[in-house]
């Protein structure tokens, strides 16, 4: 049985990675799962220098999901290279670094700092709804998606995944723009902007007022967008948004994702990633599927 997939020439032992920002750089969850079991670890967004992030409360529970407005707190690319990368290199897994910035220059700086590092792919986050500058602003028009993708592709040594925002009228337009500018792959979806009000206190629950909605609640939207994008471009897709078990992961794969990422589910089940890998293997065995690649985009 083959569970390995290849994206832009990079081979992953299985199609399961972690959703950026939900798994740190893997350290914390290494207590629960063997990181070497994962197809890849996708790191928290890394900026050119340390970011403080937003005020608290930064997270709120919603029906079947959650809101977050972390605001991309991160220790910066230098600490990442010195501390987190060597940690991850101890495991037999691929490393995808999620890159954030306030300006295109910021993004490019991180990409250039990572050029000589032993990382497998870069995931460019142009879809974070929780920062005032940058983030989602780059991901909500085809022209800016194309521009930033082009600038990054000029400098990147590793294959580039553009991470798309669901907060758009037509995500396939963004996908096409990224493809036109030379992106090697796409990942979707980032969180959907949401809000929660505390009725008793008559105030916002999050200090940032709005946050990004994630978790099982958003899965149908994510599956639809993966299907839409898979039918609009030729690029491989890393699908995410509400995946909590193997069945969910298979939905994304059948809709057109080559890989899937597990995000919010880690918070309510720290073993989720490995359980999903095992569940996919079981599904394949039970259904006589020899190669996971036969399932990708099999529902048309």
């Amino acid at each position: 049985m083959n569970t390995s997939v290849t994206i832009a020439g990079v081979r992953f032992k299985n199609p399961v990675t972690t959703a950026s920002g939900t798994f740190g750089s893997g350290m914390e969850y290494a207590d629960f799962v063997d990181l070497s079991r994962l197809g890849a670890v996708t790191t928290k967004g890394v900026a050119s220098r340390p970011w403080e992030g937003n005020s608290t409360p930064r997270v709120a529970e919603t029906y079947g999901g959650m809101l977050n407005a972390i605001g991309l707190q991160n220790p910066g690319v230098d600490v990442f290279i010195e501390r987190d990368l060597p940690f991850l290199k101890k495991y037999d897994t691929r490393i995808i670094v999620n890159v954030v910035g306030k300006t295109i220059e910021d993004y490019c700086e991180v990409v250039e700092r990572l050029a000589d590092c032993d990382v497998d792919m870069l995931e460019i986050n142009i879809s974070c709804p929780n920062v005032k500058e940058g983030g989602i602003a780059f991901g909500q028009s085809a022209a800016s998606v194309e521009h930033i993708t082009r600038e990054i592709k000029k400098r990147a040594r590793q294959p580039v995944i553009m991470k798309l925002s669901p907060n758009v009228t037509d995500i396939s337009e963004m996908a096409k723009a990224a493809e036109a500018a030379g992106a090697d792959a796409l990942s979707l979806i980032n969180t959907i902007t949401g809000m929660k009000i505390d009725v008793a206190r008559r105030s916002f629950v999050l200090a940032n007022k709005t946050g990004g909605l994630s978790g099982p609640a958003i899965k149908p939207i994510a599956v639809r967008m993966v299907y839409q994008v898979a039918n609009a471009v030729k690029l491989p897709i890393i699908g995410m948004g509400g995946i909590k078990d193997a069945e969910d992961a298979l939905e994304f794969i059948m809709a057109g994702a080559t890989m899937v990422a597990v995000g919010t589910a880690n918070f309510f089940n720290p073993y989720a990633t490995v359980e999903i890998i095992e569940g996919i293997e079981k599904y394949m065995a039970d259904n006589g599927i020899d190669d996971i690649n036969d399932l990708i985009a099999c529902v048309k």
Partner: protein, 254 residues
Amino acid sequence: MLAIKKKVKVAKNSRLAPDIYSIWLEAGDIARYALPGQFVSLYCRDGSRLLPRPISICETDRDMGVIRLVYRVVGKGTKELAGLAASDYVELMGPLGRGFVPEGKKAMLVGGGIGIPPMLELAKQLSCEKQIVLGYRDVTFLDNEFYPYGKVYISTEDGSVGAKGNVIDAIKANKLEADIIYACGPTPMLRGIKEYAEKMGIRAQLSLEERMACGVGACLGCVCKSTYTDSHSHVNNKRICKDGPVFYAEEVEL
């Protein structure tokens, strides 16, 4: 001990006061390795509520492998918890975070409201001289269980039991001295303790609270402001779930 997540059996669940419950859980190794001030994350059965409910460990019985939690029903998650009966199961992760660090010869343990429970196991384990200050709004709970471990001072906001006022009032009124304060309670109380400790030159360990998502340090949801650049985050943020919940007063801004 590394944290684990597992289903544990309820040994007993009972009401201590209006909306205040005490639950004993057969938590096995978690009971054997948990330290005072550490917490566990409880998960709801109802799938519409996904995030963990962090609850401090109130007592542990290492031999029996059981832990006790004392909690206030404030929302749907704690309401669900209150509905559990002996031999029901509940999903839980722990032990989590860093607890209190024993130090000094004369300690003051200060608990405010639902911050009182974690002080009980601490009171049991500390071998030094102990003064225990418990602050309530009105109805008291757990207070009787502290008597074996030190001199207990009670304050209530409405003055119905003990001294009228808050814990700081009680500390001042009784001119309490110590070389270490351990405290858990609402932020305004902790702020008062921090100020008092600074003024008196007493070391203080404070247990903080924030909304959590992962509970293990990965999501950066639960940070507090740190006085200096934190060695993990490289900014002025510390993760309450992982680097805390207990911090030295001088480490954090409140």
